[in-house]
């Protein structure tokens, strides 16, 4: 009697297994990549209504972060400046540059410039700027070197694990209070032996104990 399965059929099971393994691998990799905040956020650099360049304003003009983000060390979240703040200078400098039209218009009839929102945390995560900048965590840790950016780009994933990395080991991230708003400064630990000691001292002296349980960020 003729056979039901050809000889080749014997290789079939093995092949199936191999294919499955490969597929599973690809799927996992894909999910891991496309579903992590890193993918969704890092590199996000939308077009803003006004092509504002942090690089120019910080490096050339030499503005401090707090000139515009004036409440970052007082309030839970760092405010985006009102058009009034812009007009402080731009009523004189580039007073009628077409690029600044939206700002002037907004200032004139007191409407809002719809800045595109880049650094978002989820609704249920309560990040507090004041808590961080007052305790030696520099802007650069989460926002990257904004001072060198012409268009602001999302550089860190800002995922829970990202937060935890720092909360579990604050000493390795902190700066001298003076350096917090100096985005070119180095972390204490990156300043050699002394720096590392300083970091530990900082942590101990100022009782740094970042929360690692839910209530720190979720309410």
């Amino acid at each position: 009697m003729s056979k039901l399965f050809p000889k080749s059929a014997n290789r079939l099971p093995l092949q199936i297994v191999v294919y499955l393994v490969v597929l599973a691998g690809i799927a996992t990799a894909g999910v891991t990549y496309y579903m992590t905040p890193k993918y969704a956020r890092v590199g996000y650099a939308p077009l803003q209504p006004v092509p504002f360049s942090h690089a120019k304003h910080v490096q050339e003009v030499g503005l401090d972060c707090r000139y515009c983000h004036s409440n970052v060390d007082k309030s839970g979240h760092s405010n985006v400046p009102s058009s009034q703040t812009c007009m402080n200078c731009h009523s004189i400098i580039k007073a009628n540059s077409p690029l600044l039209a939206p700002v002037r218009e907004s200032y004139a009839n007191n409407t809002a410039v719809p800045w595109v929102w880049i650094h978002q945390t989820p609704d249920y995560a309560y990040f507090n700027h004041a808590a961080h900048v007052n305790r030696g965590v520099s802007c650069v840790e989460c926002h990257g070197k904004v001072n060198e950016m012409d268009t602001v780009t999302h550089t860190q994933p800002l995922s829970m694990s990202f937060c935890l990395d720092c909360h579990r080991d604050p000493a390795s991230r902190i700066r001298k209070p003076g350096d917090v708003f100096n985005l070119n400064s180095a972390r204490l630990v990156e300043q050699g032996e002394a720096g590392a000691k300083a970091a530990e001292k900082f942590k101990h002296d100022w009782k740094l104990m970042p929360p690692q349980s839910c209530s720190g960020c979720h309410r």
Partner: protein
């Protein structure tokens, strides 16, 4: 931070007048109104707030922009926008709430408040601490009033005969009226207003009446919360009103007066009362409260001796009291005391006790009582030397020439009224039935109504009625006086959302003032009040900053009691009505929640259970168990009565009440009957304020209206009523099915003073009595010997293993949070329930869901009755079948107690609820998948589950799922607290110890520290949040100061002190869950000389019966007596034999 709130010109307001607000966002985006609104609602960076509602709002807005072609949608995720101010607003720091002083006016008084605003949105109200008598506390109504501001059903435009009027049209209309009647000196013009304490309104009214002398100015309030001036007028010859100082009172006798809740100045009363009640250590004094009342009020529930007496018999009782206290008056009083069926010993002992504390005792009579009684009570206080001590009399505001509703009615009948203004109030709904107000109002050619809702009065005759949308007190300028007369500002937090007007704005326009800007009007009143020479702007700045005008309280007058005056008041003595099932007494009371109906459309109040009956969303005809039996209402128990029988009939866990018809004098109403222990046997209590026919979605159809029974002659109580079964039934949303503590050790009570023959049970003899009750009292200590030796601080961090298999990891936080609740001072006002609701974005679920037991309150007040009659046997005895006719009431605020060894955490499979290092039992909503295992394993049953999308779906279409519309009304979004996540369906929630407040306090404190000691090391003591730097919502609003929250690592903190008390205990402590919230045991202070004295609180009697049936209880020898008695005779245990008279 309190400062004058810079207010843009009202002009901007018009652009966002009513209806447009409701159109879809993309359409709205086009309107200038939207921009204006953005500027007001979304100031600098506001959109970065993490509050869910705000995020959601931004999403919607982004979407709408996209539709409008303004924005682009990102390819990877929808773009969101940050919409900062064009021009910065001074003093507003995005993300930080601002606080402004204001006040909630109500009748002739006001509650000073601080409003927490987030970028111009008031979200939470708190009492203003600068007003000393209230000490920062607020009432239930005040807490809830912020929701009214965002009531989607409020009147959103001025209309005339259904046509919308613009602001200037309104001004024109009012000007026209003013002109028209200037000619006739006001003849034909009548104004009916609700009562108000506003000096500005008073001033404007004076001006107006000067201009239009023949105008009729009348005021009407359906409910009285201040004693009638007539009494004082008669006996003191002056229009004075009493102000009580319960803080000084050692002995208090309340004659049918619910001074803790429904009387004006309730908050101050509670505060004073609890001051005299608080016992922190052995040797402290404790006041004693005697209450004689017909209903069971909150005040009555606090009574040490309670006498059930029909309100129609109160005069007799008072007469007897006077006769006993002041023998000289005996003969005069005799005829009035005729036929009073009250145990004479009760009265004698009571009076003796009061007299023994001359100068430190006080008698209070309910405002609803006739002037005679008040006159007598003033006399009693004189005899007791109370006047000037525990009660002072102040010059009352009196506006001579103000006519009553009846006068106005007469005028209208006479046809002399051509134009009628109805400012506030709601006469069509709540005017006395005999006036037939609807007909009268219809007969007036022109009616102009200033109302917050389009209610019964506004919609009576739409064609002929002009409705002016009233502004909420949080969006309008004004002023008011507190109960003691202190002038307080009513300061707007936000522009009128719908361009509403306040009364003073209307009156000013009528009076033809040049400057009708309300701020100008108010300052014009206040500056003179401040006294000559004061610099005006300084005065106002200070006034608004403090939230009160220092030293502006009513002048105290010393009064002479004039006995002759009393005789003038009294007519011939009437025989006492013989009450019975066929001749019932009906008592009309303002509802504890919706008051006289003014708050009927407030969801928070509607859903909040009535403090005593525990019924939400309805009122009921309350009858005593005895009457209930006679009416044939006999709830059946379970197969073999294993627990105390329910007082109500239940169908599948829902109270299935019989609907009765209550008729008196030919008038009749229908309502569900609810058996209420503690009532005078033949007094029927009907709360007012329900059964609104024209109201918002919330208020409409809730309960029944009792107004149709009221006549001008008998506004507060009437006899001769009958109840007849209609054969129909309806469900009542009763949030507490079972009323008895079942002899369990949940609320631990003791008498304050020893009995005549000491038995070692009283607090004096055994301050640590709580430890001789409950499983812990005879089981090995759960902390283990080692743990017992530890200091409270060590216990909080090291968590002694006790006899457990497991060693708990150390809690290494800088602070360790804990709470202490004093059961002895809590009066059960429920303010905490709504305060928590406002602070934590807790949704309401509607009657249907409450019926199913799905209410979401994070803190609830458990109310237990005890009567000393419970069956000693495990089950099946007569003692369990008997309903208590005269119970003792025990109240217990119950919320998450944050167990150190939390059973809920152990069972959550996904780590959604875990402990933080500071001892808070946290709840990560976003991690929760909703297995509800935690709720099952919570012994306190304080976890609440989002069975539906309460926030996103309308409550009447919950079961339609996706078929129903998604999303919450914009207005309601504005009410949400951006500091707290709004929970979605399918997640568990519960009290978080206001973790948002805790965290913000910590952060602010640390920021300050870092800026203060630049670089210098910070000590562990420094890093701790200073005690009292912040308060959690329930603690903050508690008038009794019964709730204390703080850091238990700090031995000096208030909470550590409270926990150090000997009467501090953990509910269900034997479970070894180690709650961080502990309770201070309840004390009762009965008078051993009283006939109804019982050596033990009833709950204790029941405890002993259940747990030491033979009476072998150590420490509770006193139980022998009651325990030996036959279970079925409650009264023999010392329940007042005088109870249940008729």
């Amino acid at each position: 931070m309190k400062r004058k709130f810079d207010h843009p010109a009202p002009a901007a307001g018009e652009e966002l007048s009513g209806p447009r607000y409701w159109r879809s966002l993309d359409e709205l985006a086009a309107t200038p109104g939207f921009r204006a609104q953005l500027e007001r609602e979304f100031p600098e960076g506001a959109s970065e707030l993490n509050g869910f509602d705000r995020r959601n709002f931004m999403k919607l807005m982004a979407a709408s922009f996209a539709l409008g072609g303004v924005g682009l949608t990102g390819c990877r995720r929808p773009e969101k926008f940050i919409l900062p101010y064009g021009k910065s607003v001074e003093g507003v720091i995005p993300g930080l709430p601002s606080y402004f002083a204001t006040a909630m006016p109500i009748r002739k008084s006001a509650i000073p408040l601080l409003a927490e605003t987030h970028q111009g949105r008031p979200t939470k109200l708190e009492g203003n601490p600068s007003y000393e008598p209230n000490g920062g506390a607020a009432s239930l109504a005040a807490q809830a009033s912020v929701l009214d501001l965002y009531d989607p059903d409020r009147a959103k435009a001025h209309t005339k005969g259904g046509v919308v009027l613009k602001a200037e049209e309104v001004s024109a209309l009012l000007a026209a009226v003013a002109q028209k009647y200037a000619a006739t000196q006001g003849a034909g013009l009548a104004i009916l207003a609700d009562e108000s304490s506003s000096p500005t309104r008073a001033r404007l009214v004076r001006e107006l009446r000067a201009k239009l002398p023949r105008m009729v100015w009348s005021e009407y309030e359906p409910v009285q919360d201040e004693p009638p001036l007539a009494a004082a007028q008669a006996v003191f010859g002056a229009a004075v009103k009493p102000v009580y100082h319960f803080g000084k009172a050692k002995r208090i006798l309340s004659i049918d007066a619910d001074f803790l809740q429904s009387e004006a100045g309730g908050i101050a009363h509670i505060r004073g009362f609890s001051k005299g009640r608080r016992v922190t250590k052995k040797g402290d004094a404790m006041n004693r409260l005697y209450v004689a009342e017909s209903a069971l009020s909150l005040t009555g529930s606090m009574a040490d001796h309670r006498l059930r007496v029909a309100t129609s018999h109160v005069l007799a009782l008072t007469a007897k009291l006077v006769a006993t206290a002041y023998p000289a008056a005996e003969s005069a009083m005799a005829p009035f005391a005729q036929g009073l069926a009250v145990d004479g010993k009760w009265i004698e002992a009571c009076v003796a006790d009061l007299m023994a504390h001359r100068g430190a005792s006080v008698v209070v009579a309910g405002s609803h009582l006739p002037a005679e009684i008040h006159a007598l009570v003033y006399g009693l206080n004189t005899v007791l030397g109370a006047i000037g001590e525990t009660v002072t009399f102040v010059q009352a505001e009196s506006a001579p020439g103000t006519s009553t509703l009846s006068d106005l009615a007469a005028a209208i009948k006479g046809g002399s009224v051509k134009t009628l203004f109805v400012l506030g109030g709601n006469p069509v709904y709540n005017a006395p039935a005999d006036l037939d107000w609807s007909a009268l109002q219809k007969s007036v050619p022109e009616v102009i109504r200033l109302g917050y809702h389009v209610d019964e009065t506004s919609s009576l005759n739409p064609a002929a009625t002009t409705h002016l949308a009233a502004a909420h007190y949080l969006e309008s300028w004004g002023d008011a006086r507190t109960h003691d007369g202190t002038v307080v500002p009513v300061q707007p937090m936000i522009q009128p959302l719908f361009g509403g007007l306040s009364q003073i704005e209307v009156l000013a326009r009528l009076a033809g003032e040049q400057n009708v800007d309300p701020y100008a009007l108010v300052s014009a009143t206040i500056i003179p009040l401040a006294g000559a020479g004061a610099k005006s702007d300084k005065v106002m700045a200070r006034f608004l900053h403090d939230g009160l005008l220092a030293g502006s309280a009513y002048r105290t007058v010393d009064v002479r009691y004039d006995t002759a005056g009393v005789q003038r008041l009294f007519g011939a003595a009437q025989p006492l009505p013989k009450l019975g099932a066929s001749n019932l007494e009906v008592r009309f009371v303002a509802d504890a929640k919706v008051d006289d109906g003014r708050f009927a459309n407030n969801g928070w109040l509607q859903e909040c259970p009535e403090p005593i009956t525990k019924i939400s969303w309805d009122n009921a005809i309350l009858v005593s168990p005895k009457l209930g039996k006679e009416l044939g209402i006999d709830p059946k128990g379970s197969l073999l009565q294993v627990a105390r029988k329910e007082t109500a009939e239940f169908y599948m866990g829902k109270e299935n009440a019989r609907v009765f018809e209550l008729s008196v004098g030919g008038r009749r109403i229908r309502g569900p009957v609810h058996i209420q222990p503690g009532l005078a046997d033949y007094t029927v209590v009907v709360p007012l304020g329900y059964g609104r026919t024209v109201s918002g979605r919330v208020g409409k159809g809730a309960g029944f209206s009792a107004y149709p029974l009221r006549t001008s002659a008998a506004l507060h109580f009437v006899t001769g009523a009958k109840l007849a079964d209609t054969g129909t039934r309806m469900f009542l949303a009763n949030t507490q099915e079972h009323w008895s503590m079942e002899g369990r050790d949940i609320i631990r009570e003791a008498n304050f003073e020893p009995a005549a023959k000491p038995d070692g049970n009283s607090y004096q003899e055994n301050p640590g009595y709580v430890r001789s009750i409950g499983m812990e009292s005879h089981s090995p200590t759960i902390l283990g010997e080692y743990g017992e030796k530890m200091s409270p601080q060590d216990r909080a961090t090291k968590i002694p293993r006790g006899n457990s298999l497991y060693q708990t990891p150390a809690f290494d936080g800088h602070n360790q949070w804990g709470m202490s609740i004093d059961l002895n001072t809590c009066v059960g006002c429920n303010a905490c329930v709504v305060a928590c609701q406002a602070e934590n974005n807790i949704p309401i679920v509607g009657k249907d869901q409450v019926l199913r037991g799905r209410e979401m309150h994070w803190i609830r007040l458990d109310r237990y009755y005890s009567s000393g009659t419970i069956d000693a046997e495990a089950f099946g005895g007569a003692g369990n079948v008997e309903l208590p006719s005269d119970p003792q009431v025990s109240l217990q605020p119950m919320t998450c107690v944050h167990c150190e060894l939390a059973p809920c955490e152990t069972v959550c499979p996904v780590n959604a609820t875990v402990h933080d290092e500071e001892g808070i039992n946290t709840m990560a909503y976003n991690r929760c998948i909703g297995t509800r295992y935690c709720a099952n394993n919570c012994p306190y049953k304080v976890r609440r589950f989002n069975f539906f999308d309460w926030n996103q779906r309308s409550l009447d279409s919950l079961y339609m799922g996706p078929a129903s519309e998604y999303g919450m009304p914009e207005l309601l979004k504005m009410a949400k607290n951006p500091e707290v996540s709004v929970r979605m369906r399918g997640v568990m929630e519960k009290c978080t110890y206001c973790v948002q407040r805790v965290q913000n306090a910590k952060i602010q404190h640390k920021a300050k520290l870092m800026q203060r000691n630049q670089g210098a090391p910070i000590s562990l003591e420094e890093i701790r949040v200073p005690d009292g730097a912040f308060k959690v919502a329930c603690e903050q609003t508690c008038p009794a100061g019964a709730i204390v929250f703080g850091n238990i690592l700090d031995p000096k903190s208030a909470v550590s002190q409270a926990k150090a008390r000997e009467q501090d205990y953990a509910v269900l402590g034997y479970l070894n869950v180690r709650p961080r919230t502990t309770y201070s045991g309840k004390l009762r202070n009965p008078n051993p000389k009283m006939p109804d004295f019982n050596p033990l609180p009833f709950s204790r009697v029941e405890y002993s019966r259940k747990n030491e049936p033979a009476g072998h209880g150590h420490e509770t020898k006193g139980d022998h007596k009651p325990a030996k008695k036959a279970p079925s005779h409650g009264s023999s245990l010392g329940a007042p034999k005088t109870g249940g008279l008729s």
